[in-house]
């Protein structure tokens, strides 16, 4: 039987000990003596969040299919255990073997959101791995980063030996072969990292240097070794129906955020909303085949025993075989008493029909994401959802028995005016009014409940808004106040609930998203001063972060409120995500002119992703 890294006494003292014991159904055990490479795959947040992430499940499954590799999981210990591990000097361990992470060959860390950056340092710290890559030796695991945030890795570059840029399915085998050869032939760690940096999609940050202009913007960014590429192209799966996907995902003992089978039906999005980073990073859209999806849906349900299956994609309604696949799924799931959850569906006659089959209408709510309150603003962000479409969808839904509506918006979008902010309240009111007009009194199930939520817009790299200034905290809060006041002025105010996000953390997220390498010192200092779990409101210490920026002599405004000129070199410009800077520039200018751009299914916009030779770029257009 496995020996646990933590004593029974510790496990009985802390909250949710199941986070740390491993041994879940479908977790992979191997003989540590019979593998060449031990890989610790870390999601730097608490177990319930990390275990819910599909990307890690794909990589975990794939790496363990390699006979010479044993991939295990690592998550951030929660605050209670963090304290005990520091006090008792217990090294961070991987869940499967319960062995210390430090002894592994690789520590892979996925960067899913910027606010986890201090948790990276927590993981390194508890593992006993030096924070800075340049201080590491062969005694330490090779620390490699992946995930969407590595499309601007610079703020955390000094903490990583390597970054894997792009989709994880393609390059690990080559990286491992190189590693094995380097170890066998007695190469130095530095030599290995340099060789790795020549592999497609792999970025070895210590071999790159930045020079800056007096105003703090980048003058040059270049590899110090001529053999390394100046530009790094993202890795991408060409055929999503002929690649790795877990048939037997790990089944957690405790309830995690995604306590269900997650089936990714397609990758990428045709829509091109200008605020959305994923919409650009995962171009071109690639669908999985119906055969693939049918096979995996059944296999995964059988292997996990989950009572729910969820379809995952950026915009499920755009999946060409959706009706056919849903018919199949409804049939299979009925037999097995399995629920179907369908996020990211556009509300129309088809989706309402499907939803009425798979959900309890009385309990479920409709979700619309207009993202902005006025048509002008929606044109700027290229969200092709019109008020007419929203109201038609809502009307159909009200007739079908729904009476709960959730509306998602962003505040602080480029060119946004008070009128756009107030438009959020007006739209919510229109929907409420429509309910009372559509549903006769005797058929109403109480009041219509409309929940409008706003998050604050944060410009992200590789979007047309990467040049845009971000609002200040005060501007954000003023805007939220404007919406709140406008909601209270509406006739149907009693049917509308308005929520807005906290603004402080948005400011930091904005800095980390578009930050450069100088930010690393701030992150390090903030961690040293106790910042950790910044994504969790209750632990976020805005004052400490502000102090650290000041102490490091860096201006927060430089990264947030400053409007970038069109010829500025961005910290992430050395990465080629397929979409060209020229295209993004064009889109930025169209945004300012309030011009809508057709989606990929309607007409090709020449974004650059066609060079991958796959996906929507090569399909017939309607």
């Amino acid at each position: 039987m496995r020996k646990l890294a933590l004593t029974d006494e510790i496990l009985l003292k802390i909250d949710k000990p199941a986070r740390y014991i491993g041994g879940e159904v479908n977790s992979i055990m191997k003989d540590r003596e019979r593998v060449d490479i031990r890989f610790a795959m870390c999601f730097p947040d608490v177990y319930e969040i990390g275990m819910s992430h599909l990307g890690i499940q794909i990589i975990y499954d794939m790496l363990n299919k390699f006979e010479d590799v044993w991939c295990e999981r690592v998550y951030s210990p929660w605050m209670d255990l963090d304290e005990i591990m520091r006090k008792e000097q217990i090294p961070l361990f991987a869940l499967e073997s319960q062995d210390p992470v430090k002894d592994f060959d690789f520590l892979g860390i996925t960067l899913q959101y910027e606010m986890c950056y201090t948790n990276i340092l927590q993981v390194l710290d508890l593992s006993g791995i030096p924070f800075f890559a340049k201080e590491r030796t062969w005694e330490d695991a090779v620390v490699i980063g992946g995930g969407p945030c590595v499309y601007n890795p610079e703020p955390v570059a000094p903490f990583f030996d390597l970054f894997y840029i792009g989709e994880g399915e393609t390059m690990y085998r080559q990286l491992f072969d190189l590693y094995k050869t380097c170890r066998k032939t007695g190469k130095s760690r530095k030599e290995f990292l340099m060789e790795a940096g020549k592999l497609p999609g792999i970025y070895a940050p210590e071999f790159y240097e930045t020079t800056y202009h007096d105003d703090g913007t980048i003058a040059t960014f270049y590899p110090v070794i001529p053999e390394l590429p100046r530009k790094i192209m993202k890795e991408m799966v060409r055929d999503l129906s002929d690649t790795y996907y877990p048939e037997k995902p790990v089944v957690p003992f405790i309830r995690v955020t995604q306590d269900r089978v997650v089936l990714e039906i397609q990758r990428g999005c045709i829509r091109g909303c200008r605020f959305c980073q994923a919409g650009q990073l995962y171009r071109p859209v690639r669908e999985r085949s119906l055969e693939f999806l049918k096979e995996y849906a059944v296999k995964m349900l059988k292997a996990t025993g989950h009572e729910e299956i969820s379809l995952s994609s950026l915009s499920s309604s755009d999946f060409s075989k959706l009706p056919e696949f849903i018919d199949y799924l409804i049939e299979e799931c009925r037999k097995r008493h399995v629920n179907i959850s369908l996020p990211s569906l556009r509300i129309d006659a088809f989706s309402l029909d499907v939803m009425s089959k798979v959900q309890d209408v009385k309990k479920s709510s409709l979700t619309f994401a207009p993202e902005a309150g006025t048509q002008r603003m929606r044109n700027v962000i290229n969200k092709g959802l019109t008020e007419e479409v929203i109201l038609n969808g809502a009307k159909l839904a009200f007739e079908g028995g729904w009476n709960k509506v959730k509306l998602y918006f962003m505040l602080g979008l480029p060119t946004e005016t008070d009128e756009d902010a107030r438009g959020i309240a007006l739209l919510a009111n229109e929907i409420a009014k429509l309910y009372y007009e559509t549903v006769p009194k005797e058929k109403r199930n109480g009041k219509v409940q409309i929940t409008a939520s706003t998050s604050f817009f944060i410009p992200k790299p590789f979007t047309p808004f990467q040049w845009a200034p971000m609002c200040t905290r005060e501007q954000f809060l003023d805007k939220a106040h404007t919406v709140k006041t406008a909601v209270l002025e509406q006739l149907n105010k009693k049917s509308i609930k308005y929520n807005w996000h906290e603004a402080d953390a948005s400011v930091l997220e904005g800095i980390l998203a578009r930050g450069d390498r100088k930010i690393a010192d701030v992150i390090y200092m903030a961690y040293k001063k106790g910042c950790i779990y910044d994504a969790w409101g209750e632990y976020y210490k805005h004052d400490v972060w502000m102090e650290c920026f000041e102490a490091c002599g860096l201006s927060m405004d430089f990264y947030t409120t400053r409007e970038r000129s069109l010829d500025e070199i961005f910290p992430w410009d050395f990465i080629d995500c397929g979409v060209t800077k020229e295209f993004l520039k064009r889109e930025w200018q169209r945004a300012l002119r309030e011009e809508v751009t057709p989606n990929c299914k309607m007409a090709c916009q020449g974004c650059g992703a066609a060079r991958f030779g796959t996906g929507i770029c090569y399909e017939e257009r309607s």
Binding site: M1, R2, L4, D8, E9, L11, L12, P17, A18, I21, G22, G23, E24, V25, V251, F253, I254, R255, L301, K302, A303, T304, G305, H306, E307, R336, H337, N339, Q359, D360, K363
Partner: protein, 230 residues
């Protein structure tokens, strides 16, 4: 068709609480493709009930749950199918078919047997079991049970049906019915108090050895003796 499943909990599974064990079995039953019956309605759930919740940190060789199936299945096949999909630390010990009129698992629980040992590193200067006979020879064993709302004075002696001081620990057979459930920790607290001591939080390692019901003659029989193999 009602079936009773007996299982053990050992190793790291002791850190999985009762509610999560229920979820664990729901998924295990799906994986094993057991034809379990579902309730009706929009979110149907499996018809399943556990005998007695086991606290986090306790081992067990005698946990029970009842399930209802839509068709008859061989008990040996079901045991094998479930064991094939168990995580390390849970073993299906028996599967029995219940007679039609059988009381459900929870209602039929009358007693439980526990084996209590001193946790390694907590031995102190005490020979565990010392003075336990004298402790048990008292005419009553008062114990003040504190709940969120109230304090209640109990006599533990009424609920201790049998005991045995063994070389490596103490065996206790105690009331585990819904009306008079006694936790082994309560007895240990009273025992230590009798010795003029106070146990610390993690002093004991407790294993539930068996869960019992009463037969028509009023004798304790293990919960799976009610059913039979088919």
């Amino acid at each position: 068709m009602k079936y009773r499943i007996k299982f053990s909990k050992y190793g790291s599974i002791i850190f999985i609480g009762h509610l999560d064990m229920m979820r664990y079995f729901q998924k295990a039953i799906r994986r094993a493709e057991i034809p379990i019956a579902y309730s009706t309605g929009f979110s149907p759930h499996q018809i399943m009930s556990f005998a007695a919740p086991l606290g986090v940190g306790l081992y067990s060789n005698g946990e029970y749950l009842d399930i209802e199936l839509t068709q008859e299945v061989s008990t040996a096949d079901m045991k094998e199918a479930l064991n094939r999909t168990m995580a390390e630390g849970v073993e299906i010990l028996s599967v029995k078919a219940l007679p039609k009129n059988a009381e459900n698992a929870m209602a039929s629980v009358a007693a439980a047997g526990y084996f209590i040992q001193i946790r390694k590193g907590h031995e102190a200067d005490l020979v565990f079991g010392e003075g336990f006979d004298d402790f048990m020879a008292q005419s009553s064993i008062p114990y003040e049970k504190e709940t969120k709302k109230s304090r209640k004075l109990l006599d533990l002696k009424e609920g201790i049906y049998d005991y045995e001081v063994k070389e490596d620990g103490i065996y206790l057979l105690v009331n585990a019915s819904s009306s008079g459930n006694i936790k082994p920790g309560m007895i240990m607290e009273a025992y230590y108090a009798y010795l003029g001591r106070k146990p610390s939080e993690f002093d004991f390692v407790v294993t539930r050895e068996e869960t019992y019901t009463k037969n028509e003659d009023g004798q304790f029989i293990s919960l799976d003796e009610v059913g039979k193999d088919i």
